[in-house]
Amino acid sequence: MIKAILIFNNHGKPRLSKFYEHYSEDTEQQIIRETFHLVSKRDENVCNFLEGGMLIGGSENKLIYRHYATLYFVFCVDSSESGLGILDLIQVFVETLDKCFENVCELDLIFHVDKVHNILAEMVMGGMVLETNMNEIITQVDAQNKMEKSEAGIAGAPARAVSAVKNMNLPEMPRNINIGDISIKVPNLPSFK
């Protein structure tokens, strides 16, 4: 079972925190800080497995993390999950985010944290892996986003207009209208006298 999924940046600021076990709000913040402290100490070329900190269950639980540019993706799991499998799952998650946000970067996660939650909800449910097929996940997330948009009413008009233009199928406008060499025979008109 996955106990928690945390995303934070190189300075420890949380970008996403999802707990699948009950902790009080204070404990949750402490766990984020403790995990950041443990993970940030790690060198770049050591293995991606760590024993959990005391707050999250100590040596019973493992922290499996991956460091992408400015972000740490940390999954805290217990012994029933395959460590190497979780590493692959993190990879799938990040690739999914990449597809949904088009070259995802930290800013995307900052400003669209609710969307990240929605994507995650299609992958992991109740601490267990739900779906690992990237295309399937994206299809479902898109369908739900569409439902939201259709409900948005007048306030969603600008957004709808933008997406409509994006999806519009315009024929290719020719750049040079090259009619080619047409020999237009000019008729010999009699001159009016």
Binding site: P14, L16, S17, K18, Y20, H22, E25, Q29, D43, N45, V46, C47, N48, F49, L50, S82, G83, L84, G85, L87, D88, L89, V92, I110, F111, V113, D114, H117, N118, A121, M125, G126, G127, M128, V129, L130, E131, T132, N133, N135, E136, Q140, A143, Q144, M147, E148, E151, A152
Partner: protein
């Protein structure tokens, strides 16, 4: 009232804050706006407000006032509202709040909604944070959805069922009929979650396990299809078809095949196939291989398969990927008990891992190396392990040293090798050796009678080099005290005997007494050694002189300790209770002195008058008397393993009157902080306390706090002092009071 700002605006605003205080201010302002908006029961913007609240919650600010709003959102008809509402419920609510039960009806309705995505939201929320009451109420709905043909819902229902079973195990039976044709699904998502559900049921109930054993052929077939199916773009991850599903199935097979011959038989072929055909160049392949290995080791597989599995693990150890190496070492540690010989074959690779840069790998390799040591490889392994001990991080040294001692004790090929190994450990990692090793080592040395001369010689030489490592010094002083005559007479067979005189030996031991590096315990050992040598050496006068100087201080400390003991019961830890060890030493010193006293009367003068001796005689509690009986045995064979819990040790030193210096040392494993020494004296005295060196007494005798006291005693009366010590130890504040009456006359005259 203007429309509440969007989430994006809020995020942008918060990001402009330059300090924590600024951020807090912005958030408080926004919280106030949100609160008033909630009060107005504004339906249009509730969704936006809750979204902002969830963001602030992630940053660590309180958001509990939004809980009811989440419920209102869930009850709304709009999908947008429901989405945020359910997300809020998952993040903000849990079974500790009564409010969550109000969700039950909403979820029930949503589970039967016409839109699959709404049903999905409800299942998701129930599966994440549903309490036992909610699960009981809604289990029927979940069970219905488990039988639906909609694969999107079916997979969610399966995981929701797992959650329900975890919360209310009695309901497991209810889901049994629905599992009948779960495995005939084509959709991988459903297959995956179904396998998870089956795994959960099998792990929880042996009856279920028996029932589902008949599924083994079907699982084997699915696995076979995955491997043989060739390239399938939907499920491909780095060239392997749905590795997640393969791993899950392998895990379920492991549970089903455990302790059952028939099932294990049915799996053998497929396991061999997976083990040999899987691509190992990427992590995915290795994940599958690893799971296969674990399964092979756990079920009743044939021996050929087991050897194959261990060889795969051995290959993992050579892999460049650190994760694989770590994971392989962990599994080998688990299997070394059952398949010892097979793991032995990979010993050299494991020992190489000791040199890895990664701390986690080094630790695993060390544990595994110790598990692999046996009578045949002890010499080679010990060489590697001692080399590791030299160069490893301090966090490993204590464990490694203990491991070396244990291994040496079990498999030492010869006594000399054993003693050499111990010497090596003491000299390289002496300060990390556990306290109880010292008495064990002394026991060992005593028992190897023929090695005494060699041992004492080597230890003496080690002492000449380095006196900072306390365990080494303690063992050495003890040996010199015991076998000093062998040392001086130069009778060593094992190696070139060294020429050393009695005076040189006494120089070294005296050096230990005065050195700042020596802890009180070490001083005790060296003093005892000196005294023991009085029976073995001829220069008794010198010994007497040394003993008199230090003996009086010892007696002070001893009588002080008696004083303290009479006011505190022995079981009260954290008091100024000198260790029974030092206590015994002081007693030892005392009895020795007394015995010397009867041999040479002039010693009485050296002890400084009549004040001291009567005190000892009258205030001796019965405990030391019985200790005295053993004491004579102590002289011969110090079994010092019975050490009670130690704490603070306070010693007074008197360099010249009227200055007294106190030294506080701490023999426990935790520092004593906020240490304050206070003293009170009778009216006729004046006391001046100068500032202490620090207020932290470091653990394990790593340093001491000193404080100078000036006593003005115009009436030249017997000095008495009441002492109060306050400090914090392991988080709890401790206070100690004691009275000291036995200051030697030199200090106040």
């Amino acid at each position: 009232m203007p429309a509440p700002i969007r989430l994006r605006e809020l995020i942008r605003t918060i990001r402009t804050a330059r300090t924590q205080a600024e951020e807090r201010e912005m958030i408080q302002k926004e919280c106030a706006a949100i609160r008033s908006s909630f009060r107005e029961e504004d339906n249009t913007y509730r969704c936006r407000n809750v979204a902002k609240l969830l963001y602030m919650h992630m940053l660590g600010y309180p958001a509990h006032f939004g809980q009811l709003e989440c419920l209102k959102l869930i009850a709304s008809q709009k999908f947008t509202d429901k989405r945020i509402g359910y997300l809020g419920a998952m993040l903000l609510l849990d079974e500790r709040q009564d409010v969550h039960l109000l969700m039950t009806n909403c979820i029930k309705n949503d589970l039967n909604h016409s839109t699959q995505y709404v049903q999905g939201l409800a299942l998701c929320t129930l599966g994440c944070m549903g309490s036992s009451e909610m699960c009981r109420d809604l289990a029927g709905e979940v069970e219905k959805l488990l039988k639906t043909s909609n694969s999107y819902l079916r997979k969610k229902a399966a995981l929701c069922a797992v959650h329900v079973i975890r919360k209310v195990p009695e309901l497991m039976e209810m889901f049994l009929p629905a599992t009948k044709n779960l495995l005939s699904e084509k959709n991988h998502g459903v297959l995956h979650t179904s396998v998870v559900l089956l795994t959960e049921m099998c792990e929880r109930s042996p009856d279920m396990l028996l029932h589902f054993r008949k599924l083994v052929p079907q699982l084997v077939r699915i696995l076979k299809n995955l491997i043989m199916s060739g390239y399938s773009p939907e499920h491909d991850v780095s060239g392997i078809s749905d590795p997640f599903l393969q791993v899950r199935i392998l895990r379920l097979l492991r549970i089903l095949g455990r302790s059952d011959d028939d099932s294990s038989e049915a799996m053998n072929d497929i396991l061999a196939q997976v083990a040999t055909n899987t691509e190992t160049s990427k992590n995915v392949g290795n994940a599958i291989l690893y799971e296969t290995v674990l399964t092979i080791m756990d079920i009743k597989s044939e021996s050929g398969l087991r050897v194959l599995a261990i060889n795969i693990l051995g290959r993992f150890l050579l892999n460049n990927d650190k994760n694989i190496r770590y994971v392989a070492l962990t599994s080998l540690l688990k299997t070394v008990q059952t398949d010892h010989n097979a793991v032995q074959r990979h010993r050299s690779t494991i020992v190489d891992c000791l040199k890895d840069l990664d701390v986690s790998i080094k630790r695993r390799a060390m544990e595994l190396s110790f598990a692999l040591v046996n009578g045949n490889n002890i010499r080679g392994m010990m060489k590697e392990l001692l080399y590791f001990l030299d160069s490893c991080d301090p966090e490993f040294k204590a464990d490694c040293a203990s491991g070396v001692f244990l291994a040496a004790e079990k498999y030492a090929p010869s006594k000399r090798w054993h003693i050499d190994t111990i010497m090596r450990v003491l000299t390289t990692a002496g300060s990390y050796v556990r306290d109880d090793s010292v008495p064990n080592l002394i026991q060992l040395i005593t028992n190897s009678v023929e090695m005494h001369a060699y041992t004492v010689q080597r230890l003496y030489k080690a002492l000449l080099d380095d006196i900072s490592q306390q365990p080494l010094v303690q063992v050495s002083s003890w040996c010199i005290g015991e076998y000093g005559d062998l040392l001086v007479s130069g009778q060593c067979e094992e190696e070139e005997p060294i020429q050393v005189t009695e005076d040189e030996v006494l120089d070294v031991l005296e050096g230990l007494l005065v050195s700042n590096l020596s802890t009180p315990v070490t001083r005790g050992y060296s003093l005892t050694a000196i005294m023991k040598l009085s029976t073995r050496f001829s220069s008794v006068n010198r010994i007497k002189k040394v003993v008199s100087i230090y003996g009086s201080i010892c007696l002070q400390m001893y009588s002080y300790s008696l004083q303290v003991q009479s006011t505190h019961p022995p079981c009260f830890t954290g008091s100024i209770y000198t260790s029974s060890l030092f206590y015994r030493f002081n007693l030892h010193v005392l009895y020795y002195l007394v015995s010397l006293l009867f041999q040479a009367n002039d010693l009485l003068d050296l002890l400084g008058g009549n004040d001291v001796v009567p005190v000892i005689q009258t205030t001796l509690p019965t405990k030391p008397a019985s200790a005295g009986g053993e004491l004579l045995d102590l002289l011969g064979d110090l079994s010092l393993s019975s050490r009670t819990s130690l704490s603070l040790f306070l010693s007074f030193s008197f360099s010249h009157s009227p200055v007294i210096t106190i030294h506080a040392t701490n023999t426990t494993e935790a520092d004593m902080t906020e240490f304050v020494f206070q003293a009170a004296v009778p009216k006729t005295f004046q006391l001046q306390l100068l500032s202490p060196s620090s207020n932290i007494v470091p653990a394990l005798n790593q340093g001491s706090v000193t404080q100078v006291i000036r006593v003005l005693n115009p009436q030249k009366q017997q000095l008495r002092m009441r002492v109060k010590l306050t400090y914090t130890h392991k988080g709890s504040p401790i206070q100690d009071l004691a009275e000291v009456n036995n200051f030697p006359p030199q200090s106040w005259q």
